[in-house]
């Protein structure tokens, strides 16, 4: 996919347009649980204290919120630097929000204990979550620090952009409900639309030279 190749500098506008909402929304996600309205109406579903629970919930909302543009931009056809930079920023901020979520779940809820994580989540989900975290981080490292056009980078990135949303789809849309499900559906729609548009555009491009040739003949 195209965004891999772009190494153009990120402009201040691009950074501002992504960082400012990210920072403010992350601040809100971490502080909103302090509101008495939220704390006083908390009803324990899991054995997690209220602040940790809401911080974990709100940061996963933020993660998906930034995944939506990142996925749409990644699969959307086109090769502009602007598009690629916005993808990289959104994909990065989504990951940073995810790391905060990871801290609250694995760190605060499961006390950094693999045994506790696997006991609570089961092998498939726990492994999948760890794979998400590692693969996503690895992909971002490549995106920021490696300018190679190697095919394996492009392939792993596309696979990461399919695998990670797939795991989010399962956990957000299939297992959960409420706001996170709607965000998961939006994320899925962004991904599907992006791929669909890309495929249609590619099909058109393939037919276009043939039609031009036929016309000339």
């Amino acid at each position: 996919m195209d965004p891999v190749e772009s190494r153009s500098r990120i402009t201040l506008t691009q950074f501002t347009n992504t960082f400012v909402p990210f920072a403010l929304l992350l601040a809100a996600a971490l502080m909103a649980p302090e509101l008495p309205y939220i704390l006083d109406h908390h009803r324990a579903v899991y054995t997690i204290d209220a602040l940790t629970y809401y911080r974990a919930v709100y940061t996963i909302w933020l993660t998906i919120a930034f995944m939506i543009p990142a996925l749409a931009l990644y699969f959307w056809p086109g090769e502009s630097d602007r598009k690629t930079n916005y993808w990289r920023l959104c994909w990065t901020f989504a990951y940073l929000a995810y790391l905060v979520h990871f801290y609250y779940t694995v760190g605060k809820v499961f006390h950094w204990s693999l045994r506790e994580v696997y006991a609570a989540q089961g092998f498939v989900i726990a492994t999948s979550n760890f794979l998400d975290t590692a693969w996503w981080g690895f992909d971002l490292a490549l995106a920021w620090f490696v300018s190679s056009r190697a095919k394996w980078i492009r392939v792993q990135r596309t696979l990461a952009h399919l695998y990670i949303p797939a795991t989010f789809f399962v956990s957000a849309v299939v297992i959960k409900h409420g706001v996170v499900r709607w965000l998961g559906l939006l994320m899925t729609a962004a991904l599907v639309v992006g791929i669909a548009v890309r495929l249609i555009r590619r099909k058109k491009q393939r037919h276009a030279p043939a039609a031009a040739t036929a016309g000339a003949a």
Binding site: L12, T13, F15, T16, F19, V20, F22, A23, L24, L26, A27, L30, M31, P33, E34, P36, Y37, L39, D40, H42, R43, A44, V45, Y46, T47, I48, D49, A50, L51
Partner: protein, 536 residues
């Protein structure tokens, strides 16, 4: 137009840099806040299980310490219902006065934590809640002597339900209880201003707590205040008694529980809990930790804050403290009276006890020092047989509450009771009262589950049971063994207890014999009373 565009573009970059900087600053501030927040509720390690019992949290945080300090002064009509001459709120509601410099100088039974109510979220300022010792530590007031504090003894003076109504009355007073008025009262009392954190937390806490009480008025009804707090017709519990499942019905079943519940129970004594497999007077809860957890929930703890490790560990440690906690000997409290105890009468009284009481209650094995259970100890005696007041076992929802309670706790909750530890359920039903050990029998007054019998002499029917009496901070009677009562109400023994009212019956448990009934033997009963003084 072009000039405007140029001007805007000139400002665009600084504006963007400013926005990014401000956003970054906001994020840094949030992370700094999170760091500070993580330091607010440093786990308070108690030196011993005893300390956890006396001062440990139970998840019942009620209000900021600063508010707790000034509320009685702001609402003297509620907190000193007998007037200022009758002493402060500690005296008037029967709490046990603490020591200066210990636990913020609060009465015994109040815990100080850095957790917010309901959620258990960390707080920058201390909050006050309840410890187990509020109800389970009592002063024995001896005639002509200093009172003695007895840990584990049911607090026979504390008028907790009335005190809670006083608090609710104050909190619901929107005109007089405002953050500004609290700040003024605090400054007046301590000569210094509230801190910024105190002010902020009071502003965050007060509206939510007040709204909670307002939302629950339909279930809990308007609280009483002032002199009504001492009116036995309006406040049917009185000192040392609660309706143990009424609040659970309200919380778990979301029902008002205003009718059909006259299940008044005295706050129990907690000596040697290891001797009891099933607890509550009707033997409905089979795990001592679960009993304490349900008591905490009924007093205001939530399943949310009971998740907090410090809270759950505090409860567990406090419960552990009572497993082997020995009650005092009669001689410890009343050495002069103990010196006059007739050894021959004691020996004869022991025989009466072994014939008439030991099967159900067991007896102390003098060789091992362990409590030896009788063949019927732990058995639930049907209400038709024991004939004591039936309200406790027939209260509305008694059949449905246990299932709802079990479902109330989420899976994996560290303090979730096991279903098989609650009756009715897989372990059967309980429509009677459990035969329990009576270690330190002399320090369990008042007697029967509803506290309707003042002395052991009346309980064993050596003397007729009084139909009416006064309760509060009664003097202990070392002769008849139990509480003495004045003929007229006094400032600290004020509560008119009428055993003819529903839930207050002093009938039943006619062992060895009904008063002056068939087989009644005064001499044998005098011997039995003498033995019971020594039964520790």
């Amino acid at each position: 137009m072009r000039k405007l565009r140029e001007r805007l573009s000139r400002w665009k970059r600084p504006a963007q840099i400013g926005l990014v900087a401000l956003s970054a600053l906001a994020l840094v501030a949030v992370f700094f806040f999170l760091y500070r927040e993580s330091t607010w509720a440093k786990p308070r390690k108690f030196a011993s299980k005893r300390e956890a019992f006396l001062y440990g949290p139970t998840g019942t945080e009620l209000m900021p310490l600063s508010v707790f300090h000034v509320l009685p002064e702001m609402f003297p009509e509620h907190f000193q219902p007998a007037g200022p001459a009758a002493g402060d709120w500690i005296d008037q509601f029967g709490f046990n006065r603490g020591k200066a410099g210990v636990n913020e100088g609060l009465p015994i039974g109040f815990s100080v934590t850095r957790f917010r109510p309901k959620s258990g979220a960390p707080s920058p300022v201390p909050f006050v809640g309840f410890s187990c010792s509020m109800c389970h530590t009592s002063q024995v007031r001896r005639p002509g002597k200093e009172p003695v504090l007895v840990e584990g003894m049911g607090n026979y003076s504390v008028d907790f339900i009335a005190w809670v109504d006083a608090v609710r009355s104050a909190l619901l007073d929107e005109k007089r209880l405002t953050p500004d008025e609290i700040a003024k009262a605090y400054e007046k009392k301590f000569g210094r201003e509230l801190t910024f954190a105190d002010r902020a937390m009071i502003r965050a806490w007060l509206p939510g707590t007040r709204q909670f009480f307002k939302n629950n008025l339909a279930k809990y009804d308007e609280p009483y205040g002032g002199k009504d707090l001492r009116n036995h017709l309006l406040m049917p519990n009185g000192p040392a008694r609660t309706q143990p499942f009424r609040n659970l019905v309200r919380i778990v079943l979301d029902r008002p529980a205003t009718t059909g519940d006259n299940a008044y129970c005295k706050v129990p004594t907690l000596y040697e809990q290891g001797n009891r497999e099933w607890g509550q007077y009707d033997g409905s809860v089979g795990n001592r930790l679960s009993r304490s957890v349900l008591a905490a929930i009924a007093t205001g703890a939530t399943i949310e804050n009971l998740i907090i490790p410090e809270v759950s560990e505090g409860v567990i440690n406090a419960v552990d403290y009572t497993v082997d906690l020995k009650g005092p000997r009669f001689a410890d409290l009343f050495p002069e009276e103990a010196a006059r105890v007739d050894a021959q009468k004691v020996a004869r009284g022991r025989e009466v006890y072994m014939r008439s009481c030991a099967d159900c209650h067991g007896v102390r094995d003098e060789a091992t020092g362990q409590w030896q259970k009788g063949p019927r100890t732990g058995e639930v005696v049907p209400i038709e047989e024991i004939k004591t007041d039936p309200e406790r076992v027939n209260f509305r929802y008694s059949d449905t509450l246990t299932d709802a309670l079990y479902a109330f706790f989420p899976d994996g909750h560290p303090l979730r009771p096991r279903r098989e530890d609650m009756r009715p359920g897989p372990a059967g039903t309980t429509k009677g009262y459990i035969n329990a050990p009576i270690e330190s029998a002399a320090v369990r007054a008042p007697y029967l589950h509803n506290g309707s019998v003042l002395t052991l002499a009346e309980l064993i029917n050596l003397k007729p049971r009084r139909a009416t009496f006064f309760r509060g901070a009664n003097l202990y009677d070392p002769v008849d063994v139990g509480l003495s009562t004045p003929d007229q109400p006094e400032p600290h023994v004020y509560y008119f207890f009428d055993t003819r009212l529903r839930g207050n019956s002093n009938q039943g448990h006619d062992y060895p014999w009904a008063f002056q009934g068939p087989g009644w033997d005064r001499a044998a009963l005098e011997d039995l009373l003498e033995f019971l003084k020594t039964l520790s």
